[in-house]
Symmetry: C2
Subunit: 343 residues, 2 copies
């Protein structure tokens, strides 16, 4: 029921995903009448769909605490997450309110043992393909230990989604020298360098390395990650607007643009945010993917694709195993206080 | 002597700036022989230039502490900053090592009374023109009070450089609601809302608002600001590379691109980083502008233009006055500890 247009996007999106992933079943939670009316237009999806009715939907502006109180046990969002917990579903995908979705997902699914805080990971288009960037907004001010956990989770996600056997991991910083950055980042860098972790740590990377694809996984705390993601989206949009206005400035360039329209379509495809849509909630005992609320069916289908891939690859199990390995190396675990006082 | 190519960029850059600003004089510090040889090619600049010889130049990789020890009292960088302190120059411009330049500038010029920490401000091209973004790397982890000081300094700089009488100021955050963000940002937001400051506070802005030009001044701490700036530069570069490769993909689009080349030139001009080159050091008793080390003469001239504008407009005096007004409103000053405990 979430997102700017609710089932009108979710159902056609699921229909696209169902075509791409034969054999999968879909459970829909929400307004039965609206959902069923839409399903009649997608008979192939209808054949593999079940609908569970509820009148209650979380609003896009509800505060997480409100949403938990009002939606607990009965809202469409809660029921979808609960289906993951009870094993009825392998993953939940929602275009709803991010804060409410995260609060409910933590409440229902609980954190993987040993992981302190969740992260939201995004797929970032790069010159080399796609990189995993986390956290983009779940944990503001993550400390060194939490950044280390994000590195482990992001690496497992990259293996799951990109098929790379040994993705490279970089820590986002404002320079590549060991002395640069804040205490959390320096300490996380030290731990990643010195511990014999089962991942390929590249070192510090800077903001412009994300788009270059210097590493497959970029690790940062939620404030910086969120700002970087939105600044990059804003810049891509800005360049596109500049280009469009430049092409309209003379008749000759309008003719040129007409002839080169295949190239512009290719560029548009390459920058299409719908092809990278989906914020993956990491650190929970279950897969939850947050679709952008303003996307369309194609974008929602991408978020479902990601959920299916990760479920197929046993991502949650991989993360739990990797984290327990890391914790064995970290014995005795450095608490944030200890980390800071040793710097 | 700084930057990738030293005087070979600085002198032609100054020659461009001298053409644009008749009546200004230029003081050059460094290797007299190299500088004089270059000046003979620019007779108009030579007529308004003085050269002060020194053998000592700070290396691009020197640590700030090394640079201070080795360069104190005699390096070209030190002498240029000292000329601002002694009133021989109205501003210093350098393409050298950023950390060394900041350390020396703080040591020689000292902070404006009442300002705790310096900021580096950048001019960010937007859909509406240009915005001031600060801090882009001087003060990692700035607290609420420091963010407030950055707001005041950035606003004064925007008035100085853009000619706006009442520039709008936004605080960079991961959402626009009052509850979003970390404690420093929330507390700074509260202070900016509640104090009757002599500036136009817009509220929180997000990463994509920077490029939209939602506000004229974007305030953030140095880590996030640095990452956002580099992520945006990386994205602009990435889109340009995608565009170039798309235009070469078919013969038809190559013909189209040829016809539309005027539009691509216009786009290139609009995205040209040389037109926005110059990191302004704010909070010091004097104007220091850091040029990108890899820029060319045109880019270096932009950094000089900025320095001249700000000197002409009495920026340092404006900042000192504004900060003392703010401090009067802040009595008794909330220390960072108090700010945090009240949240």
């Amino acid at each position: 029921m979430g997102g700017d247009r609710g089932p009108e996007i979710v159902i056609p999106g699921a229909a696209l995903a169902a075509e791409r992933h034969p054999g999968f079943k879909f459970l829909f939670f929400g307004d039965e009448a609206r959902i069923n009316a839409l399903l009649t237009r997608h008979p192939k999806l209808k054949a593999v769909a079940s609908v569970r009715h509820t009148d209650i939907a979380i609003g896009m502006d509800d505060k997480p605490s409100q949403a938990l109180r009002r939606g607990r046990g009965k809202s469409s969002m809660w029921l979808a997450i609960d289906a993951v917990k009870t094993g009825q579903a392998h993953a939940a995908v929602s275009a709803g309110n991010t804060g409410a979705l995260m609060a409910m997902a933590r409440f229902v699914l609980k954190m993987v043992p040993g992981i302190e805080r969740p992260a939201i990971a995004a797929m970032w288009p790069t010159l080399r393909g796609e990189s995993v960037v986390l956290d983009v907004g779940a944990t503001v001010g993550a400390d060194a230990r939490q950044l280390l956990e994000f590195a482990v989770m992001g690496e497992a996600m990259a293996r799951s989604l990109t098929g790379l056997a040994k993705p490279t991991v970089g820590l986002l910083n404002i320079g590549v020298e060991e002395l640069k950055g804040n205490e959390h980042v320096k300490e996380a860098g030290r731990l990643l360098r010195e511990l014999d972790l089962p991942l390929h740590y590249h070192g510090f990377v800077e903001g412009d390395d994300i788009g270059k694809g210097t590493v497959d996984v970029v690790v940062t705390e939620g404030f910086t990650g969120n700002v970087a993601l939105k600044a990059a989206e804003g810049t891509a949009n800005q360049v596109t607007i500049f280009l469009r206005s430049a092409l309209k400035s003379t008749v000759l360039s309008m003719i040129g643009a007409f002839l080169a329209q295949g190239a512009f379509t290719a560029l548009k495809n390459r920058l299409d945010p719908r092809k990278h849509n989906g914020g993956v909630f990491l650190g929970l005992n279950g897969i939850v993917v947050k679709s952008h609320g303003g996307t369309d069916a194609l974008g929602f289908a991408t978020a479902i694709d990601m959920a299916i891939e990760m479920a197929n690859n046993g991502l949650v199990q991989k993360i739990a195993e990797d984290v327990s390995k890391v914790h064995a190396l970290l014995q005795p675990p450095p608490t944030p206080e200890v980390s800071e006082s040793t710097v």
